[in-house]
Symmetry: C2
DNA sequence: GTCTATACCACGATAGAC
DNA sequence: GTCTATCGTGGTATAGAC
């Protein structure tokens, strides 16, 4: 009985409240723009609680990322494992691998229960974050997934030179993170209509088609190039 | 005579020193991480000089971007104008348009005189910057170029639906900005070798091939897709 | 007009009382 | 676990020297 009652009051409620508030405010105001006084006010906890539960603001940022990114990347690896198992020994199609990676992010965006959209956008910002501990953290969290997917693509595209593959993975990762993370302002640059920005199904089709084509591109350009005057 | 002597001491030397120092330190430590005390110390000027010449830190950031981005975007439009003029009435090849846009950024990277590399990386960070005035500024500065290039691509690809083109431009812009702006940490994710990161000629070939393929991609995926278990 | 010295308030972090 | 007081540092504003 006491255990049942205990379960109603989570053991780390303060922690969770801080994480939720931080995720939202980091997105709105940036990592340095969102002050601890603002975070704790929104979470309804004391200013010093962040320091008590996480140790520092940087550690809080790390916790915000790990909470969602660790499960996401684990899921990505499981998805690829399942795919290769079901394929037996035959090599996977590039589009299949792309979708396996994509789906985790897109599912996150569609999940309106948690702050999925917020978090995906937050991720995009982290890649360009300067000399903070954040940069290293993201690379570290992504490393195993990247290794795994790189190997899968190498098997799927045995004729593509290794160095070329690395660059194309880099381009693909860039397109993905930028597209999902782009703020309204940047969308405005290309004139995207906001209504279908979060239609995950359409986005998956469009992104997969674009990325697959780039990945499979011939080593030279396709269209005719005239000499510039 | 007095005029000759005056010329030795530029009218806005302090301004320029602040801009140069800021460009470098904003890249190293981020916009909020680079304090005004650090900036002014590196520039060898007084702390209050920033406020006198620019008004605020945000206004300084804007000035840093405008100094290089305004000429860059003007150059991009001129390049496209020249290209269309030399082509007469015939439509341009997509790869030509891509290269016209790309070359300005790549030339910036190769120009070791000014802080070209620094600035390009700085640009990438600005796209993901949160609710600061920076976001709006970048969109505003890019808008005319985007309109111009969008029209050129639309003429080059008359069979691609308009909405599809907008998305592909968005993907292309994402790849470009991410690739050029990526920090060492992110490069490490994909395992890129640092030595050829700034070989502009190679990068132009690789990026053009990748982006052209994505732009010309068929509306569905190309490779076979098995049903997932 | 340019530049400097300095004062002001908000921030992140910490120690210690409760 | 929580709260308060406090410290060093951040961006900003202004008064006055040149």
């Amino acid at each position: 009985m006491t255990q049942t009652l205990r379960a109603l009051k989570p053991p780390h409620e303060t922690r969770t409240r801080i994480l939720d508030a931080s995720e939202e405010l980091f997105m709105q105001h940036g990592f340095e723009g969102a002050s601890m006084r603002l975070l704790t006010a929104k979470a309804g906890v004391n200013l010093a609680a962040v320091n008590y539960h996480f140790g520092s603001k940087d550690a809080l940022i790390e916790a915000v990322f790990r909470r969602r990114l660790d499960p996401m990347n684990a899921e990505r690896i499981v998805a690829l494992d399942r795919l290769e198992k079901s394929a037996g020994g035959t090599p996977l199609a590039p589009a299949e691998i792309i979708r396996a990676f994509l789906r985790t992010s897109l599912a996150m965006i569609e999940d309106s229960r948690c702050g999925g959209r917020n978090f995906i956008r937050l991720l995009g910002r982290a890649y360009t974050e300067p000399s903070k501990p954040i940069r290293g953290l993201i690379g570290q969290l992504y490393a195993p997934v990247m290794e795994r997917y790189k190997a899968a693509f190498a098997r799927a595209l045995p004729n593509l030179p290794g160095e070329e593959l690395v660059w194309r993975l880099h381009f693909m990762f860039g397109t993905l993170s930028y597209t999902l993370a782009a703020t309204d302002t940047v969308q405005l640059i290309a004139g995207c209509k906001p209504e279908d920005r979060y239609d995950a199904k359409l986005l998956e089709e469009r992104l997969t088609a674009f990325l697959e084509a780039g990945l499979l591109a011939p080593l030279g350009v396709q269209s005719t190039v005239r000499k510039a005057a």
